[in-house]
């Protein structure tokens, strides 16, 4: 397969995946019962019945014309960044709510994920190289950490470090009373509030990276070229890093991209436990209060973010693996 075919194949994938996310998002509210206008009418009993039509227009709940026509209108709206109006924070626009909450999630979860990936991969390399050493032997214990439901561990951590010891704040993203902005008291407070959430994410997700890296690394160490490198008399460090680990890291790298979707899932629970002002908590609030436009908008943004992360990972993969550059990497 040539390099061009590889790029075309990936492009087709992104177009189809993006279209699928868009379409799923279009059909969910149309296939499911319930609609935001009823919620709004119930919320404000003093509204006149005439207001129903106006609200239906506002929330995009009026399904006029054929399905194809609605679909076309929906796609046009999305490409104009028009995601509708939120019900719970009426009359705030869905797009501005997402704009306010997304940076919180991206910063915290992004940093925590990179730290977890780097630590887990590094420890996995060590565990494989010094196979049977102490690191390798504590590995089964780490699976227990992986088995614990994330929110359960997070609640225990909050109870121990925030409630009983009082070392860290219990919840929220920054101290109440501070105005968000680029000034030191706020940045300091935000950093302080992010320690526990980040820690829980790293602890629960690290073992997975470590295990996968260790297992691939053990297989790679058995390859002849690693033996050849050792036979040449290269230092152990050089053999590990540039011969064994560099090849063994490739599956971990693509797993990293694919798991970004699950990272955002983890963020959902983390934000609920810590009442962190990110996009996951907003999605949760939208679901519990039947705010359909907000729910749809956030799901779309999350899906597109995952696709974007995949695109970046593709680029990294091409840089890291010469075979992918030559267009010979399938599976």
């Amino acid at each position: 397969m040539s390099a061009v075919a590889f790029v075309v194949r990936r492009l087709v994938f992104y177009v189809v995946a993006g279209w699928a996310a868009l379409t799923v998002n279009f059909f969910i509210p149309r296939l499911m019962p319930g609609n935001p206008v009823e919620t709004m009418m119930a919320k404000f009993p003093e509204l006149q019945p005439q207001a129903q039509r106006a609200l239906e227009a506002e929330f995009g709940a009026r399904h006029d014309g054929s399905l194809i026509h609605q679909y076309g209108q929906y796609v046009v709206d999305v490409f104009h960044g028009n995601l509708g109006v939120s019900v719970i924070e009426y009359p705030a626009k869905v797009s501005s709510i997402i704009g306010a909450t997304l940076p919180w999630t991206l910063t915290l979860v992004g940093v925590a994920t990179i730290v977890s990936f780097a630590l887990g991969t590094g420890l996995g390399i060590l565990a494989a190289w010094r196979r049977g050493g102490w690191l390798d032997r504590v590995l089964p214990a780490l699976t227990f950490l992986q088995g614990i439901p994330y929110f359960f561990l997070a609640l225990l951590v909050v109870d121990a470090f925030a409630v009983h010891l009082g070392w860290f704040p219990i919840q929220q993203g920054y101290s109440p009373g501070l105005v968000p902005g680029w000034h030191w008291p706020f940045v300091q407070s935000a950093l302080y509030h992010s320690v526990l959430p980040a820690l829980t994410i790293v602890v629960t997700s690290m073992a997975g990276w470590m295990l996968q890296m260790r297992n691939v690394m053990i297989t790679t160490i058995g390859e002849d070229y690693v033996l050849a490198a050792q036979a040449k008399g290269l230092s152990s460090r050089r053999v590990v890093t540039t011969y064994a680990a560099r090849n063994a890291i490739l599956p971990n790298l693509s797993g990293f991209a694919l798991s970004l979707g699950f990272v955002i899932s983890g963020a959902l629970l983390m934000e609920i436990v810590f009442s962190y002002p990110g996009i996951g908590l907003t999605l949760y609030n939208a679901v519990t209060s039947d705010d359909y436009p907000l729910m749809q908008g956030i799901f779309l943004i999350i899906a597109l973010a995952v696709l974007l992360a995949n695109l970046v990972a593709d680029a990294v993969y091409v840089l890291a693996d010469p075979r992918a550059r030559a267009g010979r990497s399938e599976t």
Binding site: R9, V12, F13, V16, A17, A20, A21, I28, P29, M32, P33, G34, R130, G132, G133, P140, T143, F144, Q146, G147, I148, P149, F151, F152, L155, V158, V163, N215, I218, I221, G222, L227, Q230, K232, G233, S236, L258, G261, F262, I264, S265, L268, L269, I272, G280, L283, Y284, V287, T288, D290, Y292, M295, Q296, I298, F299, I302, V306, L307, N310, T331
Partner: protein
């Protein structure tokens, strides 16, 4: 300059050891299988031996949020319900959900994976594209949105949605394995002798993928249990059906942590964690069956800080190394 290390030790001894190692499952895997078996037994007999009705409330002061005692072995909730009964009944629901989801998703993964790998060409492109698209759909947010819209949040709808989102990973792995198997001589031979396609698939290819399929089943069960417990914890579940997640939901709602009522949330949480550990350990064992290099080695020797096994290539160290070169038992 480097030297190859001298080789010492009897070939026969190494060979018998390796044969014994292949037959024996590793300790990790056996512990995992044991944990899983215990939970299956508990799920089967649990609801029959539960001492109380899990939903029976009692507002007598002595029954409210009482620490474990002889009457209530795992204590009571803030509404006087028996925690042990809830765990025993809830375990079955959670396990059934996990196993059913694992079954449906694995069947889907096998069908898609083998079709893509065996048919190749256009169908491979199409099915791979499909599984890649499903793979990037963010599962938990989609579940939250879907289950948020559903009129009743029953077990069936959760199982269906979880299965629908749980198959692509397994399908990818099985497809890759099918691709390599398709080119093997024994498959070509069976085709040459005029075997029908379904026979080639079911009797030549499928048996060689059993460990992969088992691993994919186990990890799907793990994913289903973890996700369903998380969904129940945030309140997206059927409130009339006790499950481990629902216990945790009520414990969190009743501020069990702040009240130091550890007996309310710890049993259900530990059950999920133990079950998860058991499944991961079981998967270790399945991986080791499929990939002999991962097996715990007999006759391991440590040289220059690295452990060598009989199946490894001959270790080589820098000459003039201060450490004495230890010997390995067998060279290949």
């Amino acid at each position: 300059m480097t030297v190859a290390l001298p080789v010492r030790g009897a070939r026969a001894r190494g060979a018998t050891r390796r044969a014994a190692g292949a037959r024996r499952l590793s300790t990790k895997a056996r512990i995992g299988a044991l944990i899983c078996a215990l939970f299956v037994v508990a799920a089967i007999v649990g609801p029959m031996v539960a001492p109380y009705d899990p939903s029976a409330q009692s507002f007598a002061p002595v029954d409210i949020l009482h620490a474990p005692s002889m009457a209530h072995l795992l204590g009571t909730t803030a509404r006087g319900e028996d925690v042990l009964s809830q765990v025993l009944v809830g375990l079955r629901a959670t396990l059934v959900l996990g196993l059913l989801t694992g079954l449906i998703a694995t069947v889907l993964a096998v069908v898609v994976g083998i079709s893509a790998g065996f048919l190749g060409g256009f169908w491979d492109e199409l099915l791979s594209l499909l599984s890649n698209v499903f793979l990037v759909l963010p599962a938990l947010p989609l579940l939250v949105v879907l289950i948020g819209y559903l009129p009743q949040r029953g077990q069936t709808s959760t199982i269906l949605v979880l299965s629908l989102l749980g198959w692509p990973w397994g399908a990818r792995v099985i497809r890759a394995q099918t691709l390599t198997l398709r080119g093997r001589d024994f498959v070509a031979a069976s085709r040459e002798t005029g075997e029908r396609t379904w026979r080639v698939i079911f009797f030549e290819i499928l048996p060689n993928e059993v460990s992969l399929i088992a691993a994919s089943f186990v990890s799907t069960v793990l994913y289903a249990i973890g996700t369903s417990v998380a969904l129940a914890f945030i309140g997206l579940t059927n409130f009339s059906q006790w499950s481990l997640g629902l216990i945790l939901y009520w414990a969190q709602n009743g501020n069990a942590l702040q009240l130091n009522a550890w007996w309310w949330f710890a049993p259900a949480g530990l059950c999920v964690a133990l079950l998860g550990t058991g499944l991961v350990l079981l998967n270790f064992g399945i991986d080791e069956i499929g990939n002999p290099r991962l097996r715990e080695a007999a006759g391991r020797v440590r040289i220059e800080g690295r452990a060598w096994r009989p199946a490894d290539p001959t270790p080589v160290v820098r000459s003039g190394s201060t450490r004495s070169p230890a010997a390995r038992p067998e060279a290949r």
